[in-house]
């Protein structure tokens, strides 16, 4: 990570306005209200089908659009590069004597830096969208695709406007808006040419669809005699009726509105107020979009409708805002678009902002796997630029089970001067910032693999294999012991294949898929050695590997022969709480009577909730075992752990942790529970550091004394 980038994150975190505004808006709640009574999954299925179809036929749709629009009198220009767009617009300005341009919001025009180019040629271009105008006057770039000036306070806006109108203005929002109305009204009237973007371009009819709330696009397309629309070709849809689902979803996802105040559908030129016809130019801009469409992985990114909901829910964006992304498009989708519209190398730093929590995927109306595509960028960067020596060596060591486990045992001894009660609270010198806001976990004196043979288990019932994962094995072996105890209470015998090692997720998350596939391959044999009813994991991250990623990884890395084995493991793998809920339902586990009622708030780990879809089961198991569940605000927002993220982006990680712990503490519960040892390291360390009464616990720890022994149930 570059130093300048590091500093931009620190600066953004120090700006309280960036973090505060999206929180005050409370987007998740307002969005949910806007979607009330709407089947979001069906709607986004419709949109992704329409946009996916369009992405597969961009050249044909562009041809059809051109034909339809030209038949109605519009001039259509097809541009492959930003420079071609700029030259075309300059040509119009020069031939028509245009001196002043009024613009409504257009990200495509930002993408090609139109204003700067026109200014260099003596043409004044004024933004008329309030947020864009503020950003233009401040000589900045938009920090958000829908709300460009989100990063500025009313005080800052008052200062910017005061300079423009040359009189002092008070920081009162309604008043500032009226100042903008008055100033910009004249600019609409004076402009010789209006520039817009388009939200949708309909090939069948040659129609442009433009949505605004302020009404500026209506004025920009009505008062000047020339209208130039700059349209990225990903805005094309085949049919007129295709506009409906996009018009339904975009305002709900973007601003939690049922519809924007204004929608204009323009099909060819209409008369101006002096009786002449509008001079309508539509520029269909490619700028890497067809190259993107030809890439089987990234084609789906063209399903984006630019609602920016992936920014609004992103735990990282919510802490630092848009400017750390460094380019025009910000947030999750912005990281992907920047890699294509600029070049892959430019995203080297910003792809590292993504913690991979997948919140964006959940809300994307284009049904894009945003988190997956950012990971794919990381993989390509790792392949092209190579991993750092330290990162590569670390990942290689993890893949060598004997060396890795020997190192962990050595660390358990070496850490002794710093460790107490399972935590490391202070570290010397340059390592000190790692333990600044969160105590670090200590490596356990004896790993689970050494404790396991000492556990006495019932024989003769069914068998399950336990996949512990590194964290339970070496950091929290007592969780493993609790898992065995609970499953024994259901009469199941647990086996622990000693040859098991790391699941490969750390490699996968670093873009080192070939090493991840090797990790997968190493584990298949041990896990399939004995005929077991289930493979149980009590780690959501490992569950992601076993249940979901191993078959893909092996296929992708040329080890297709192992896919059937990986699929066999995937079919048998269950998360611990998933199995417990099932065993309770089947009557194989019976909660004890008369247990003390204790309260718990449940944190959904990103891997459990969004990768393997386990979030009802742990709640069902805990409730059945007599726990009072107290839901926290945003229970499924990332805690900031993200594996090595907490080391690579410590400041962001701690920002996310703080919010999570605040939300958890507000419930007043006794326990903060998560079925992910990684999350528990983060949560437990944070709680220890702030001296909280709340205790972080794995569900297995909470459940271990809650069920009757098999003998008891018979009696």
């Amino acid at each position: 990570m570059s130093k300048a980038f590091d500093q931009s994150i620190t600066k953004a975190l120090e700006n309280p306005n960036l973090g505060g505004i999206l929180d005050r808006w409370n987007y998740p709640a307002t969005r949910a209200k806007a979607y009330e009574g709407v089947d979001f999954e069906a709607l986004r299925g419709e949109i992704s089908a329409i946009k996916g179809e369009a992405a597969g036929h961009l050249p044909e749709l562009a041809d059809q659009f051109q034909k339809s629009a030209e038949a109605r009198g519009a001039k259509v220009f097809r541009a492959s590069s930003p420079q071609a767009v700029l030259d075309y617009i300059l040509g119009i300005c020069q031939s028509k004597g245009v001196k002043k341009v009024a613009k409504s919001k257009s990200m495509a025009s930002e993408e090609i830096h139109l204003n700067k180019f026109l200014a260099e040629h003596g043409i004044q271009a004024d933004e008329t969208d309030l947020g864009e105008w503020i950003v233009q006057l401040a000589h900045q770039t938009p920090s958000h695709m829908v709300m460009p000036a989100l990063h500025l306070t009313k005080e800052e806006v008052a200062e910017i406007f005061s300079q423009e109108v040359k009189r002092p203005l008070s920081p009162e929002i309604q008043g500032l808006v009226k100042v903008a109305r008055k100033e910009l009204r004249e600019k609409f009237f004076e402009a010789d040419l209006g520039v817009t973007g388009a939200n949708i371009a309909i090939a069948e009819t040659g129609t442009l669809v433009i949505m605004t709330n302020e009404g500026n696009a209506r004025l920009v397309t009505t008062l000047p005699k020339i209208h130039v629309a700059i349209v990225g070709i990903e805005k094309l849809v085949p049919r007129f009726a295709d506009a409906a689902p996009i018009l339904r979803a975009l305002p709900k996802s973007a601003t939690s509105q049922l519809i924007t105040s204004y929608v204009s559908m323009i099909t060819g030129p209409v008369p101006n107020d002096d009786g002449t016809m509008k001079d309508l130019h539509i520029i269909l801009m490619d700028n890497q979009r067809t190259a993107m469409a030809a890439d089987p992985e990234f084609k789906q990114a063209l399903q984006c409708i630019r609602c920016a909901s992936c920014l609004n829910v992103c735990p990282v964006y919510r802490l630092v805002g848009g400017h750390v992304f460094g380019h025009i498009y910000t947030g999750g989708i912005g990281t992907i678009l920047t890699a294509w519209f600029n070049e892959l190398k430019t995203t080297e730093d910003i792809q590292g902002l993504c913690i991979g929590c997948g919140k964006c995927n959940e809300v994307c109306p284009g049904k894009i796997d945003i988190a997956g595509l950012i990971l794919e960028l990381r993989r390509r960067l790792a392949k092209k630029e190579g991993l750092s020596f330290i990162q590569k060596s670390a990942l290689q060591i993890i893949n060598n089970r004997k060396v890795f486990h020997a190192m962990l045992r050595a660390a358990s001894i070496a850490q002794k001067p710093f460790a107490k009660d399972g935590f490391i609270r202070h570290l010397p010198m340059f390592l000190s910032n790692l333990a600044e806001h969160r105590s670090l976990p200590a490596i356990a004196p004896k790993p689970f693999r050494d404790l396991f043979p000492e556990i006495r288990q019932p024989k003769g019932g069914g068998k399950v294999a336990f996949y512990a994962g590194c964290a339970i094995d070496f950091v929290s072996p007592k969780v493993g012991v609790a898992v065995v105890k609970v499953l024994n209470q259901a009469g199941l015998e647990v086996i622990f294949p000693q040859e098991q090692s790391c699941c490969g997720i750390p490699h996968w998350a670093s873009g080192a898929n070939e090493m991840a596939a090797l990790a997968a391959a190493h584990n298949l044999g041990p896990l399939l050695a004995e005929d077991v009813e289930y493979v149980v994991t009590a780690c959501a991250t490992c569950a992601t590997a076993l249940k979901k990623e191993w078959p893909h990884l092996l296929q992708q890395q040329g080890m297709g022969g192992l896919v059937p084995k990986a699929e066999a493991v995937a079919a048998k793998t269950v998360m611990f709480t998933e199995l417990v809920a099932k065993l309770i339902q089947e009557g194989r586990l019976t909660p004890k009577d008369g247990m003390e009622l204790q309260s718990v708030t449940y944190h959904d780990s990103c891997h459990a909730k969004r990768h393997v879809g386990i979030y009802k089961e742990p709640r069902a198991a805990l409730s059945a075992a007599g726990f009072d569940l107290r839901e926290m605000n945003e229970s499924d927002t990332c805690c900031g752990m993200g594996g090595s993220y907490t080391v690579k982006q410590p400041e962001l990680s701690m920002g996310m942790l703080k919010r999570k712990l605040d939300n958890a503490e507000q419930t007043g519960a006794q326990y903060l529970c998560a079925e992910c040892p990684g999350c528990l390291i983060q949560l437990g360390g944070g709680l220890d550091k702030r001296g909280s009464q709340l205790q972080a616990k794995h569900p297995a720890e909470l459940l271990e004394d809650r069920f009757k022994d098999p003998g008891d149930t018979e009696g």
Partner: protein, 178 residues
């Protein structure tokens, strides 16, 4: 459908009234003009044509029946006749290919929109089956007043378009292009 339209349009910040006859609607319209103030511009439509004689018989001071960019810019009130209404979003829809329709509904502080009640449709998808973009080259959809939340996510009304939108639904009015 009218009730849903009214609920949704008012939730978006508009005001909705309904009258059985054109005569009652006209009476309300003229009273509204007194409240909202003049100058006002009226951008034509079948309703205006129907009552033009009545209006021309006793011209309303400050009300212009032809719209230019200059008089619309200075107007307090702009009156237009809409073609359709969408119930589930409270949206007004108009073939605004005639520039005077857009000038009158965008530039003034108050927009008074006349709507044949019978031209309400349940939702956007239905509306799209009723309109033909080849004939209606500039289709306008209006839902409530002009708004922004670009400064600190705080809602402000009346940025570039009207601050107030008053919808008058008229039951016996024909019009629109089904």
């Amino acid at each position: 459908m009218y009730e849903l339209f009214k609920t949704r349009a008012e939730a978006a910040g508009g005001l909705v009234h309904r009258f059985p006859t054109g005569a009652e609607a006209l009476e309300f319209l003229l009273k509204s003009l007194e409240v909202e103030g003049t100058p006002a511009v009226w951008a034509g439509g079948s309703f205006l044509e129907g009552c033009a004689e009545q209006l021309l018989g006793a011209p309303i001071p400050g009300l212009a029946l032809s719209v230019t960019r200059e008089n619309a810019k200075g107007a307090r009130v702009g009156i237009t006749q809409m073609d359709w209404g969408i119930a589930d979003t409270g949206t007004l829809v108009q073939d605004a290919s005639g520039v005077e329709q857009r000038l009158a509904s965008t530039l003034p502080w108050t927009h008074i929109a006349l709507l044949p009640t019978r031209n309400l449709v349940p939702d956007l998808a239905t509306l799209l089956t009723k309109v033909d973009p080849a004939r209606s080259r500039y289709l306008t959809f209006i839902t409530g007043p002009s708004r922004t939340a670009d400064i600190e996510r705080v809602l402000a009304i009346g940025v570039h378009g009207p601050e107030r939108v008053i919808v008058i639904c008229i039951d016996d009015l024909e019009g629109g292009r089904p």
